[in-house]
Amino acid sequence: MFLDFFLLLKNDGLPVTIKEYLTLLEALDRDVVEYNVDDFYYLSRSVLIKHEQHLDRFDQLFGFFFRGIELIDNEEFMQIPEEWVRKNFENYLTEEEKEMIKNMGGLDDLMKRLKELMEKQKNRHQGGSTWIGTAGTSPYGAYGYNPAGVRIGQDGSRHRRAVKVWDKREFQDLDDSVELNTRNMKMALRRLRVLTREGTKEELDLDRTIEKTSKNAGFLDLEMVPSKTNNVKVLMFFDIGGSMDDHIDLCSRLFSAAKYEFKHLEFYYFHNCIYERVWKNNVRRFQEAIPTFEVLHKYNNDYKCIIVGDASMSPWELLYKNGSVEHNNDEPGFTWLQRVKEQYPYLIWLNPVPVEDWRYTQSIDMLREFTEDRMFPLTLSGLFKGIRALKDNKQKFENN
């Protein structure tokens, strides 16, 4: 029975190992728990799960296995704010789909029906062929934006019938995409080093010790130096949402590698182009937006700046006032990018779009020019080259 549970966790992608399973059995054997399911839940959680990001998934699977509750995965789905969907509906639907909506009685009816369906829909539903599936792919694909899932409050209930501990799912917020195979990226980022000797003296300076000892007629005279540490400061801007959804996996890997490598790392998110506001928290991006000026003033030009984005947008998002797809901006995107560029002499742009496709998008060309050919593809070799350009301003990316 427990083996099945273990396999369920394993197959779901939680990093559980046989050793941990054996530990669990040993604990059961030694009567650590008093044969009630709550205790077993606590015990198995403590033995099997080692990352708080996984706690939520564990809670769900535990509930699923031991009571057969449905795996409800459409929560994010239900928490998309209605007006947002409405506002952008038209932009994202093809003529054909718009026609379809009309036939179904217009947007209002559609929203109502969507809600009804979601109420009924208790099982995990993926890639269905019913219209909720198709409609789902266009607006929700576009709005399923960020890796953590857009969690913005709305009035729909969450179907909380159960009250068991694992059903409370109190660790939900900790869930995020976990780093996988980031080692190569870490190695690339590691090259970005500014080694300095600062702090307490704790390393033996051999040369000076020999020198001073000889001067001291052979009596030992120790000389110490502080050890070398990497003091590079990095400021990253991540494009998030929209067309970046295709690259989420890659970007989150880069992100976790960067977080791991750089002690002084600051990061902000933007959508399509940097305007007057950026944000740190995608869930609360509208409430907790940070003025870009604040960022520029806070981090001086010691910082190396990395912009990660597909640079794919309509040119007017860069060139004109009010060109942004999301809000009314007083100043064009280029003005803001220019400010960033002036502040940070060492700036590169990492683009997850394959190099071969760059020339098909006008805005990529414009931004390549803007970065003075310091736009690099987000591949391993591109990353290596980009890192080199962060140390030496003359390095450029030469395509073909």
């Binding site: 990093p15 190992t17 050793k19 941990e20 530990t23 040993e26 604990a27 030694r30 650590v32 728990v33 709550d38 205790d39 606590y42 015990l43 959680r45 403590s46 033995v47 799960i49 080692k50 990352h51 708080e52 706690l55 501990v165 109190e170 660790f171 900790l174 780093e179 307490t200 704790e202 033996l204 052979g218 009596f219 030992l220 120790l222 050890s227 791991y260 609360r284 409430q287 907790e288």
Partner: protein, 278 residues
């Protein structure tokens, strides 16, 4: 031998389970959680509840795994040799025992706290795999194997500044101390300030939770901040009625500096105050 929390420390059921499982199976317990939720306290309370000695090893960014085992002071020996000191003939004079060694050779079982393991270099936990797994290591200078007489109860805390390696995690029990719910928090306050009047605690907790719920607070106050703040309230003889007047628009809570430690959070409060007034 079971840990059930102490009179000063409220342990939730899941935490108790994790601690006892780790003790029974003699594996390290890794504790993570929001700052100020009592991760380090746990080790001290476990030691107290089980009546054991505690050894603490506080990790800093410069700490190396070897320092927990022992350090060989070659330079001191070299210097002594120049001065013609007799001590140099016995190498053990120059071996400084680390916390792990101390814990291993203790005459009774001890609790070993490895505090803030994430502060050290990323390789640090890997260097301790065998030592924590088998509770033994080899001292090259003395050509001697050091084995634990009694396997210590190892409690490790982490603030999540760095990812810990998987190989290390596999060998640990894990517990995430989440922020306590209202009832637990009240119990915690009660064990710390048993004589405080009920009304003041209720009011203080109300203010505390309102503060935690404000959108955009960067460093949310946690249990330890609440306890400090209540202490200040009692010292300052603030009454429940005075707390009643706190509404975050006209009047900020007294001693709010002990609840909010970041300058930006204070600015945010001032800003909210200003905005609501308008």
């Amino acid at each position: 031998m079971k840990f059930e929390g102490t009179e000063n420390y409220i342990s939730t059921r899941d935490l108790t389970m994790a601690v006892n499982a780790a003790i029974t199976l003699q594996k390290p317990l890794l504790v993570k959680g929001e700052p100020g939720t009592g991760k380090t306290m746990l080790a001290f309370e476990v030691a107290k509840a089980l009546d054991k000695k505690i050894l603490t090893w506080h990790i800093k960014s410069s700490t190396e795994a070897q320092q927990g085992l022992y350090e060989y002071d070659a330079v001191a020996r070299l210097r002594d040799s120049q001065l013609g000191d007799d001590r140099i003939n016995d190498i053990s004079h120059y071996i400084k025992k680390g916390k792990l060694w101390e814990a291993f050779e203790s005459a009774e079982q001890v609790v070993l706290l490895i505090d803030e393991i994430d502060k050290a270099d990323i390789e640090f936990p890997n260097d301790l795999l065998l030592e924590l797994d088998r509770m033994q290591f080899y001292c090259y200078e003395l050509r001697k194997e050091v084995n634990a007489r009694y396997r210590p109860i190892v409690i490790i805390t982490s603030n999540n500044e760095k990812e810990l390696p998987d190989a290390f995690l596999r060998r640990c029990f894990f517990h995430y101390i989440s922020f306590p719910d209202r009832d637990t928090l009240k119990q915690i306050v009660n064990v710390h300030y048993p004589k405080l009047e009920e009304k003041l605690i209720d009011k203080a907790m109300k203010v505390f939770y309102t503060l935690r719920d404000i959108d955009g607070i960067k460093k949310k106050p946690s249990t330890s901040e609440l306890l400090d703040w209540i202490k200040l309230l009692t010292v300052g003889k603030i009454t429940a009625d005075e707390l009643d007047e706190v509404d975050f628009t006209e009047k900020l809570p007294p001693y709010s500096g002990s609840l909010l430690k970041s300058e930006q959070d204070h600015e945010l409060l001032e800003y909210l105050k200003y905005r609501v007034r308008r």
